[in-house]
Amino acid sequence: MTAVAEIKRTPLNAVHRSMGGRMVDFGGWDMPVQYPAGTVEEHLRTRRTAGLFDVSHMGEIDVRGNDATSFVNSITSNDVSRLIDGQAQYSALTTPDGTVIDDLLVYRFAADHLLLVVNAGTTDKDWAWIKSHHKNEAIELKNVSADYCQLAIQGPRALEILQPLTNLHLSEMKYYHFAEGTVADVEAIVSRTGYTGEDGFEVYAAADMAERLWQKLLDAGNFGSDDGVLPCGLAARNTLRLEAGMALYGHEIDDTTTLLEANLGWICKLNKGDFIGRDRLAKQKEEGVRRRLVGFEVIERGIARDEQAVLINGERVGRVTSGSPAPYLKKNIGMAYVPTEFANEGQPIQIDVRGKLVGAEIVKTPFYKRQKQ
């Protein structure tokens, strides 16, 4: 039994409703799954011009003190010591088994000041996990999730939309770097990060500035014109990240999947020193994984959906972690775990789509890769 928790709202809840957002319960958050333009148009607009996303539900945990870097390095899999000031990295909070508590971004303001940005639905769990590992290190931990709003402006026009609003030189900002400045005269942190496979930025500011930033970004992006920015809901966020081959916590990764199985070996820095789960991951790397996450494309008529069984040679060998139509690629795609011996491009598989076996093929990920300028 879980207690019935009160539904949470971002500072933009009323705005989403007034703009016709269709609201759903997403991990305890009342969030727009789509706006009147619809998921397909929101997805395409982000690929072609720009999309604006309210991601204020994400959690933020502030870590300060002389041991900030070493502490975060001991609980995450990537190497925090490689970061310079103003740089961010993708990483994971790991269990002793090398499975995943959550995936996250680690922002380094200074060696003694880091900000961890974690998933919405896992924020409370992560906060408890992180606090439980704080022993004698000289750090101060703060869950500052409610203090921040976070907006993501994503797409090929994201830079030109955001630039006139900020004193930061966006074209000089490298991918996975960030800076502090102002956006629409509001103090903000701007990072060149995102979850769509496009160029773009994420803007963090005080929660009560969310409406101002949202409106200024819509205005700057000519919202309402045919090729203007569109506000995008969670459904488009999901299809965009799936086309880009990015993992979603609770789907591709969770506390039953290891980082190596999920093809996230690149964020496992096994030689950086000890961290939770390091030994198990090192052992698994040496022995090889028994199953691996792969991308697939449905060849026959049908749409694979989350949790459906994967069959190879008539045997059930795995499950779909995410399956969906891909609006930009105009294909039906998905990701799935299969035994390592079958995890090869071109391998035919079948998906059990509500009792009907539908043919698919393992393909390379990401499914979509933007043209670099």
Binding site: G38, T39, E41, T239, R301, G302, I303, S324, P325, R354
Partner: protein, 130 residues
């Protein structure tokens, strides 16, 4: 506000029925297509297949969700709208016209009387939205 034509019959599963003698044409309502969002896939039966009232005859999928569709009447499929294979978006753009799904030779035409009228269906959808 969803469009609910006066001359059709409606099911609580959000299908509509247009009666023409012993033939019923069946599709999903404007309210249903709006709730689903962009329809990207429609799976329909083959002519000759028989369905009982309230039995699932196919499915409609949007980017986000799968929805079964149920035949409001019993009978044999005499024609299906094959054009939805390549143009499933017709279900969104013209749910009561080009977005029709099946034509059924009714085995119990009296079943139509137990379906909702336009006014009753409108009340029903208001209850669901609240």
């Amino acid at each position: 506000m969803a469009n609910i034509p006066e001359d059709l019959h409606y099911s609580k599963d959000h299908e509509w029925v247009r009666v023409d003698g012993n033939i019923s044409v069946v599709g999903i309502t404007d309210y249903a297509q709006d709730s689903l969002g962009d329809v990207v896939y429609v799976e329909l039966p083959k002519p000759g297949e028989k369905f009982a009232a309230n039995e699932s005859f196919g499915s409609v999928e949007s980017v986000k969700a799968v929805s079964e569709v149920f035949s409001p009447v019993s009978g044999e499929i005499v024609e299906v709208n094959d054009s939805l294979t390549d143009e499933p978006e017709k279900v969104n753009t013209d749910p009561y016209g080009d977005g029709w799904m099946i034509r059924v030779q009714m085995s119990a035409p009296g079943e139509v009387d137990s379906l909702l009228t336009a006014a009753e269906y409108e009340d029903f959808t208001k209850g669901e939205t609240e």
